[in-house]
């Protein structure tokens, strides 16, 4: 097993891909935290805890759940909205939950508007601008999510979570695989259950 751990950065001028450092993706029914395989239950608890600790917990929904391009995408989008509303209900004064879409993957030139969107080619700009210290990617194509996660790890101290519809993301600090509407709702339920038990941290990105 690799000694490498996937931790909040800023890690390096060019951080390595976690897979190249020996980090393996979880099997069905499992998740990972910092590159260590854990039960899904443990991952929900930790994801909820990280959200409730963060000053600016943020959800980044991607094209796979935007645009209502099929029935499943629309249902996931509704679940994500529920997750965001739950987060808003559960945080304490001073915390600022955000929902910022990644509507497409085009590099934005000459400069992205970081207040309204995030882009996989320069996600650090949105993280920095909004002082985001914990985020979750949902509905982003795996390749683009991994691009983003590495760049965020390289240049920011943001805690990254990936809820992936496929095999998960070892470049996130925490990843849940085979994400369905039910799993998104389960994370919302966990946040609700832990409300008031976790103190927000003072640090910012």
């Amino acid at each position: 097993m690799s000694d490498y751990r996937v931790l909040p950065g800023p890690e390096h001028f060019l951080p390595p891909a976690a897979a190249s450092m020996g980090i393996r993706l979880p099997n069905p029914g499992e998740a990972h935290i910092n590159g260590v395989i854990v039960s899904e239950e443990a991952a929900y608890e930790e994801a909820a805890r990280q959200f409730l600790m963060a000053k600016v917990p943020t959800i980044f929904p991607g094209p796979l759940v935007l645009w209502a391009w099929n029935e499943k995408a629309a249902k996931k989008a509704t679940a994500i909205r529920h997750l965001f509303n739950t987060l808003k209900e559960c945080v304490q004064p001073g915390q600022k939950p955000m929902l910022i879409p990644m509507p497409d993957y085009r590099p934005k030139y000459p400069k992205i508007n970081p207040e309204i969107e995030i882009n996989p080619n320069h996600p650090n700009l949105t993280i920095w601008h909004n002082k985001i210290d914990c985020c979750v990617f949902i509905g982003v194509h795996c390749h683009q999510a991994n691009l983003s996660l590495k760049i965020i790890r390289g240049g920011t101290s943001c805690y990254t979570i990936a809820m992936c519809a496929q095999a998960g993301h070892e470049d996130a600090m925490l990843s849940i695989r085979d994400t369905s509407v039910e799993k998104i709702m389960r994370l919302a339920d966990t946040i609700k259950r832990l409300k008031g038990t976790v103190q927000p941290r003072q640090a910012s990105a």
Partner: protein, 403 residues
């Protein structure tokens, strides 16, 4: 996966049943058949639910490409046509895969070299195209004979690279290869290589799965990148590439993109182990002398081991099945007790020996040879001779100059 699972048990237009691939490959009855390697490629494709095959003639893959044309005429392949050149073929394969098709092609030698620009593009665009490479000589003066030098050029493209020893490997790995390369965490092209003529043009008994079973179709919606979309990468990247933007963000994005390709190669390790029952096969691992080889050099090594046993020299064998992902830990473990490691190869540069030297501790144990190239055969006796010479044993010359 739900969409794929839902078609299992249903039939395609040829009456073949979409079958769970694990059951098809491991539990379904097999029929021994006496086929050439080229015919085996055709039989594997019959069962592969392939959408598009694009062909261009170059020896020794021409026969396989033509036979797959027959499959198209029979209705087993969605589309089939001849490109204008190997470069065109590989570009057309990319277009087909961008559009969400399961794609297959074959090439060899100078054809591989001519098309080379496409292979890092395939990998970068995360296109799970399967390409059979029936290796032959690539350099001037031209040779159509077996030579594995072209594999060395494929190793750093970002493609998965497997090296089949036998026609049986070929049949099984064509089908299993799609299962690995189409995994969403992998989703990379596969170069499935063999030694031309030795495998393609000789007949062997190959155990085939039932012809009325086929792979489940490719599901492009599991791809880690969007299907063809002119407003999104990777298509957009080719219109508006990072290289055209001189700023730090462009460089960092491209760097992260490259890392992701090689991360995907790493992720293929788990799936390759699952489908191929390990990245290497081993025999006699308690021996002081170990032959490490890939392709038909494995067969010759196996025969050399038998000859050496007759002389009281015990020798082990490592068959390297996947070159990318590279079985680093497996080779290190398999050779940890070896005093001598011999690497017979069908090429002049000894690229496999270089890989092994970079992998094992005490690399002076690695004897890069014997080598043959340009179409020469590799009699097991020359492997025996190489080993005996290194051990200080008396041996004879195969060249007839007297010993």
């Amino acid at each position: 996966m739900a969409e794929i699972k839902s078609v299992i048990g249903t039939q395609n237009k040829k009456g073949q049943t979409y079958t769970d691939t694990w059951k098809m490959m491991n539990e379904a009855p097999r029929t021994p058949s006496f086929f050439t390697g080229s015919e085996v490629i055709k039989e594997a494709l019959r069962r592969a639910s392939c959408d598009v095959m694009i062909a261009y003639p170059i020896t020794p893959q021409s026969e396989a490409a033509a036979l797959i044309g027959e499959l198209f005429a029979e209705g087993y392949i969605g589309d089939y046509f001849r490109g204008e050149s190997e470069f065109a073929v590989m570009s057309q394969c990319a277009g087909s895969a961008f559009g969400g098709a399961r794609v297959f092609t074959t090439t060899a030698g100078p054809g591989t070299m001519r098309a080379m620009e496409n292979f890092p593009m395939w990998a970068g665009a995360r296109l799970p195209i399967q390409m059979i490479v029936t290796c032959r000589g690539i350099n001037s003066p031209l040779s159509i004979q077996p030579d594995t030098l072209e594999i060395a050029y494929l190793l750093n493209t970002g493609m998965l690279v497997w090296h089949a020893e036998t026609a049986q490997d070929f049949f099984d790995w064509i089908l299993k290869g799609y299962m690995v390369s189409e995994e969403p965490d992998v989703h990379l092209p596969l170069a499935l290589c063999c030694d031309g003529f030795f495998v393609t043009h000789t007949k062997d008994v190959v155990n085939l799965t039932p012809a009325d079973m086929c792979l489940p179709p490719y599901d492009p919606y599991r791809s880690p990148v969007p299907c063809m979309d002119m407003e999104c990468p990777p298509v957009r990247m080719m219109r508006d590439p990072f290289v055209m933007k001189s700023n730090y963000i462009s460089y960092a994005t491209h760097a992260s993109w490259q890392q992701e390709i090689w991360a995907a190669v790493e992720r293929s390790r788990k799936h390759s182990i699952h489908w191929l029952n390990g990245l290497i096969d081993t025999e006699n691992m308690d021996a002081d002398i170990v032959i490490v080889a890939s392709g038909t050099a494995v067969s010759q090594g196996r025969e050399a081991i038998r000859l050496l046993e007759d002389e009281g020299v015990r020798c082990g064998l490592v068959k390297v099945k996947t070159l990318r992902p590279w079985p680093e830990e497996e080779i290190r473990e398999a050779t940890k007790n070896a005093k001598h490691i011999f690497v017979p190869e069908f090429n002049v540069t000894g690229w496999l020996a270089k890989e092994i030297r970079a992998t094992v501790p005490n690399h002076q144990r690695v004897h890069a040879g014997p080598h043959v190239c340009g179409g020469m055969t590799m009699p097991p006796e020359i492997i025996v001779s190489e080993i005996k010479t290194a051990l200080g044993m008396k041996t004879f010359s195969l060249a007839g100059r007297g010993s």
